[in-house]
């Protein structure tokens, strides 16, 4: 199926499978953080992932109650950029490769 691009708040989001916006669950985001070499530090209410990605320092806090939920679009866009991905498709490909 042909992919389309939709722009939300100035950020390109890939639309796959005929229109569903590509987002991610917090659980998958944790897998990506781990695969990128970020260090997970347990905190009272979740895990703080921190470290350098492509020379840039990244800190992502994932709350213990967020686990299975999807990352909202605005938050996902910010995390995408921080983790060095230009578009959601790139993130998805990386996620599928780990």
């Amino acid at each position: 199926m042909q992919n389309r691009i939709r722009v939300i708040r100035g950020v390109e989001l890939s639309l796959v499978n005929g229109g569903a916006i590509l987002t991610t669950s917090f659980r998958d985001l944790e897998r990506v953080c781990k695969a990128l070499g970020l260090k997970g530090i347990p905190k009272t209410n979740g895990i703080l992932w921190k470290g350098f990605v492509k020379g840039r320092f990244v800190r992502i806090m994932i709350h213990k109650h967020s686990g299975g939920k999807d990352v909202p679009t605005g938050t996902f866009n910010c995390y995408l950029k921080e983790l060095g991905f230009s578009i959601a498709q790139e993130y998805n490909e990386f996620l599928n490769s780990i």
């Binding site: 806090m61 709350h63 967020s66 990352v71 909202p72 938050t75 921080e82």
Partner: protein, 194 residues
């Protein structure tokens, strides 16, 4: 109480006189590296920087710590201290009330939105790169508060690293402001989440 204050004020006056009279013993000695034109006033191991603020030597600080703290708290004076002989960086002693007034400039502007795609409320605090989301606005607020507490705790635990890199270094005054909140309601107010 007044008598006690009067005594402390006299002590401070005495201390100030001591500072003024014990001046110009070592001339321009000292080699202060922090400022471009340092005026060294020796004797009491104090000197004055170009802005007119006295730098108190460590020995004088130790000997007069109570008076100095009293002056800082009650007279809104800021005291600079450091190694006057060797020069180098100094430490500022400032009243907490005054510091909090200065930090008020660093305002938080939360972005609160409803994400149609995931049907969640999300809150973003760009100043410190903190996020929170939930099925209700209250849940999103609870989660962002928890996340902020964790980020603040980590910031000050690892501050030696964070003060060497951008952007965390620029977030310092914001985390400082958060760390000075005494209650959750005060924190919510500071974060503009009420």
């Amino acid at each position: 109480m007044e008598n006690n204050n009067g005594k402390q004020n006299r002590d401070i006056n005495n201390y100030e006189n001591c500072e003024e009279t014990k001046i110009i013993k070592e001339g321009s000695q000292g080699g202060y590296k922090g400022g471009s034109k340092s005026l060294v006033k020796g004797g009491c191991m104090n000197m004055e920087n170009i802005g007119g603020m006295k730098i108190i030597g460590l020995k004088d600080l130790r000997n007069n710590i109570s008076d100095i703290i009293f002056k800082v708290i009650n007279n809104f004076q800021v005291v600079l201290t450091g190694n006057v002989k060797k020069g180098g960086p100094t430490v500022s002693i400032i009243s907490t009330d005054l510091l909090e007034d200065i930090l008020e400039k660093y305002e938080f502007n939360p972005e609160i939105t409803f994400d149609e795609e995931t049907k969640q409320h999300e809150i973003c605090l760009k100043e410190i790169n903190a996020f929170g989301s939930g099925d209700t606005k209250e849940e999103a607020t609870r989660i962002i508060l928890d996340n902020i507490m964790a980020l603040t705790e980590d910031f000050f635990e690892d501050i030696e690293l964070y003060m060497r890199i951008d952007p965390p270094k620029k977030q310092y005054p914001y985390f400082m402001r958060i760390s000075h909140c005494k209650t959750e309601s005060e924190l919510l107010e500071v974060l503009n989440l009420v």
